[in-house]
């Protein structure tokens, strides 16, 4: 439910406000930072037995932030920016604000990274208590998430326009190729974390939606690569 909502709202935001996001990037980053700070603050408070009593709607948003759903929804549209048809309006809109949306998503994923890394490390010695699918789900899910997080950091920093300019086009583009690995690891992370859940908590709807989204991306991207290579061959033949 939360994923569907945030995918929808972020799509509308990108589609109708792409120019505004680009022009007001600093404001967008600061708002993302406020929510990232809020997510971290909430977690740190819980270590000292305090909780923030948010109104129910805000609580729902903070839960989605904590689970990484909001940033994943944003990353999904950034990802589709590289796979959609070059003439599609949505692709044009995404490309206008792709860097800004990536930076916002990266700030918003920080509470998720912090909370779950902390909980994994605190509970590491107790992993011996779990076994089978749940153990594999926890271990592989965590490792995939951590590696994805580590790959995300340089991609995040180099999404800032001034850093991108300093790097130079070729080096920047080469680094951005790691985004594909990042997307793959995010999907692995989602699948294995799903496996780590008990049977009652496994939502087929959310796993199905993620699978449809990632498979659609993969199909579109492959189609695009095939088309591009054919075009290159044709052009090569003409020359």
């Amino acid at each position: 439910m939360a994923l569907t909502f945030f995918l929808g709202i972020s799509l509308l935001g990108i589609y109708f406000f792409s120019d505004w996001i680009r022009k007001n990037a600093l404001l967008c980053y600061l708002v993302a930072m406020v929510f990232a700070f809020e997510g971290l603050f909430r977690e740190v408070l819980s270590f000292y037995d305090y909780e923030i009593d948010y109104p129910s709607l805000l609580e729902w948003v903070m839960e989605a932030l904590d689970k990484g759903i909001i940033s994943t929804a944003l990353f999904i549209w950034v990802m589709f920016g590289g796979a959609l048809n070059a003439r599609s309006t949505l692709r044009k809109k995404i490309l206008i604000c792709r860097g800004e949306v990536s930076i916002m998503a990266s700030y918003l994923i920080m509470p998720h990274l912090f909370t779950y890394t902390y909980e994994f490390l605190v509970g590491f010695s107790r992993l011996s208590r779990i076994s089978g699918m749940v153990l594999w789900g926890v271990l592989v899910g965590f490792i995939a998430g951590m590696v994805a997080g580590l790959i995300m950091l340089p991609l995040f920093v180099t999404s800032y326009r001034n850093i991108r300019k300093k790097m130079g086009g070729k080096r920047w583009k080469a680094l951005q190729e790691y985004a594909y690995l990042f997307y793959g690891l995010v999907y692995f992370h989602i699948v294995f974390e799903w496996l780590a859940k008990s049977s009652e908590e496994r939502s087929l709807y959310s796993l199905g939606l993620y699978t449809i989204v990632f498979l659609s991306y993969l199909s579109l991207k492959l189609l695009k690569v095939i088309k591009q290579s054919r075009r290159r061959k044709t052009l090569g033949g003409v020359v």
Partner: protein, 134 residues
């Protein structure tokens, strides 16, 4: 002016969030409501020695203490004596696991996801108490 507003708006947002969302101290749970088993007819004697036993095990935060009552050889009552774990985790785990133990007469249950260590705290402290009932 635009720059000023750019910095002011997030600050207003942050203050706004905290005006409508007070920070509260989480009260650790004391003795919780008892979980009791209704004995079945003609069930015979169970494997444990009758009595009231206490056990403890590490949970998410510190040790969790349980009281286990054995009647006619069966686990007949369960109470949490003390835990520092958050209410959120206890709400998830307490009823399904303690009722599960009473029903199955076993602690061999799956942990509740999202509250794994509170789950093991509950189950292991029951095991710990039952060591004295064998």
């Amino acid at each position: 002016m635009k720059r000023f507003i750019t910095y002011l708006l997030p600050l207003v947002l942050l203050c706004g969030i905290h005006i409508i969302s007070p920070i509260e101290k989480l009260e650790p749970l004391g003795a919780s409501s008892d979980y009791v088993r209704v004995p079945e007819e003609n069930e015979g004697r169970g494997p444990y020695k009758d009595g009231v036993y206490e056990g403890s095990a590490p949970a998410y935060k510190n040790e969790l203490f349980m009281q286990v009552t054995v009647q006619n050889g069966w686990i007949s009552g369960l109470s949490i004596l003390k835990t520092d774990d958050d209410k959120e985790y206890l709400e998830k785990t307490e009823a399904p696991l303690l009722n599960g133990v009473l029903e199955s007469q076993s602690t061999d249950l799956d942990a509740i996801t999202g509250a794994t260590f509170t789950s093991y705290g509950l189950l292991d402290s029951i095991d710990n108490a039952l060591e004295n009932a064998l």
